[in-house]
Amino acid sequence: MSEPLSYLGVALARPKVGFFELSSCEGCQLQLLNNEATLLDFLNLVEIVNFREGMSERGDNYDIAFVEGSVTRKDEITRLTEIRKNAKILVALGSCACFGGVNQLKNRFRDLDWVKKEVYGDFPIETMEVHPLADFVQVDLSIFGCPIKKEEVERIVTDLVVGKTVRHPEYPVCMECKANENICLFELGEPCLGPVTRAGCDAWCTSNRRGCWGCRGPAEGANLKQLEKIMHTYGFDREIILDRLECFGGFASFTQTAPTQDKKSPARRKKS
């Protein structure tokens, strides 16, 4: 094992961490392994005892559990409860864990049996409505994004190790987008959820000329009412706004209370 951690001569504990996945694409965990330039420094900062995607050993003696994915099956509730019991800190890693993610699009349909049949055909499996982790266990920290941004996780893990407070930006993506000297995508004729979505991604999509889909969920005090007016002014209909707001589940509280919104019937969805 590498030498003991210290910062400014002060000894630091190297936290034991585990990475876990429920229903997800495991892309967030892959992101962590992706940044080769900093991978060794990252691995030196923590002691990984469980990481199916990165190693063969399995341990349950972790301090911090990073859980990716949403809960869609009963056995996942059991597993999640177990992880919660073992961990001192439970981190929801990525939009699926935080809000249900892309998976929760399923909840938008009235008839879940129909969904099951469409997806699995004659080989049905047991699934239920999609839930974020916080519906079942206490989540101590959320790391937003689909996928998560490696740089942000590195900063958060460093902060956890040196004992700094972990803070998320509360303002919307526009702030970072403008600081990247971008021209507003609305001006270029594209819809965007940047004005209402929590920043912290450094305007990843919009800086690459793709409108925001709100994967990080709402900014604090997000002004959805005004966004609706803006979308209307720029010629985007309600369906376009809802498609985006519903995509990752972060805006569930807004879309569920929207008066004209109703759950989509299978027939209507099939036509489109």
Binding site: Y7, C174, A179, C184, A219, L227
Partner: protein, 345 residues
């Protein structure tokens, strides 16, 4: 003040003489959804890239003296302590080729706070002193209200200011460097006809202003209208997204963050421009937020620009470029906000 005139083809020569430095100027960045060109300042490598007849750039030139993110210092951390390294991030002089009067005035206003105050900001000063600015006249856009703010002409803060006379440029020389530079191209003293053309250009420009802000007694009216319901109405529209401050040529508020590197042997201190419209701007240790509502935050941006700054420096912190209103998706524009607070719709 020394005035000269030169033929338009001499401008390329002027650019060539300056091109040994980094040249920044207005360039076309694309087209908006209505097919109108969108301009922004960028490094220019070829004279033909310069779009000197530009209307207005989306972003202000502020970022070249006041970057959105700037590393103030880095630290090499060891067992026994740390070593601090400061880099003012000033490497080479920068030539600004074609800056409108509003933006020149914006830099002059930033100087009041960042260069001429009791504690000048060395990061700003280093970059500001290393600028060579060529100003250029403009045609007022619908959002421009610089005339209301008294910033439609630049008196100082540039090296050379050009006015388009049709065939040539009328040049206003303000620095020895600019004088020496013009000596290297073919130019002459203005004739009576040039003077007439210059006056015609200036008078013609003044007819094109449409937006207006009534500034008479504005500090007092703002003082009296602190509780005005108008603020709530605008606050309801505001997205608290900080776009206005980011495109503003004079907004200089910032936050500082310290980062420890992954290897725990290095750390850095970074300054990022903020906006008083952001929900976490007035949040302090312990979690209390002094301005929890968007209305109160929006109001303070106007109070800083049109009241506090005026009382401190006898001029507004707004140059009337109208970028904030043009960039605001919620259509919040200073002329309308101020008119509503003054009680005239």
């Amino acid at each position: 003040m020394i005035f000269k005139v030169f033929k338009k083809q001499e401008l390329a020569r002027l650019h060539e003489l300056l091109a040994v430095n980094i040249v920044v100027g207005p360039v076309v960045k694309g087209k908006d959804r209505n097919g109108k060109p969108l301009y922004d300042f960028d490094v220019v490598y070829d004279f033909n890239e310069l779009a000197l007849d530009y209307t207005q750039t989306v972003h202000s030139p502020k970022r070249f003296v006041l970057p959105y993110h700037e590393t103030l210092s880095t630290f090499a951390v060891s067992r026994d302590g740390w070593e601090k390294h400061v880099d003012l991030n000033v490497y080479r002089p920068l030539v600004f080729f074609g800056m409108h009067a509003c933006d020149i005035n914006a830099l002059n206003k930033l100087d009041l706070v960042l260069a001429q105050s009791t504690y000048p900001n060395p990061y700003y000063m280093g970059k500001r002193k290393n600028l060579f600015i060529i100003g250029i006249d403009c045609n007022p856009e619908p959002q421009c209200f610089c005339r209301s703010m008294g910033t439609d002409s630049a008196i100082h803060g540039f090296d050379l200011f050009l006015t388009d006379l049709g065939d040539g440029y009328f040049a206003e020389i303000l620095s020895a460097t600019a004088f020496d530079l013009l000596n290297q191209i073919s130019c002459k003293d203005p004739s009576a006809k040039d003077l007439a053309l210059y006056k015609q250009a200036t008078n013609g420009k003044n007819k094109h202003y449409t937006a207006k802000v009534e500034t008479s007694d504005l500090t007092k009216i703002l003082d009296l209208e602190f509780e005005s319901p108008a603020w709530d109405a605008w606050g309801e529209k505001c997205l608290s997204c900080g776009t206005c401050a980011n495109v503003c040529p004079t907004c200089y508020c910032y936050g500082v963050e310290e980062h420890v590197d992954l290897d725990l042997t290095h750390a850095s201190k970074t300054k990022s421009l903020h906006s008083c419209n952001l929900i976490d701007f007035a949040k302090v240790a312990g979690g209390h937020n002094f301005r929890p509502t968007s209305a109160s935050r929006l109001k303070y941006r106007y109070y800083h620009k049109h009241r506090g700054f005026v009382e401190a420096f006898e001029e507004s912190l707004c140059v009337g470029c109208g970028r904030c209103g043009a960039a605001c998706l919620a259509d919040i524009t200073p002329p309308e906000v101020i008119a509503s607070v003054r009680g005239k719709e």
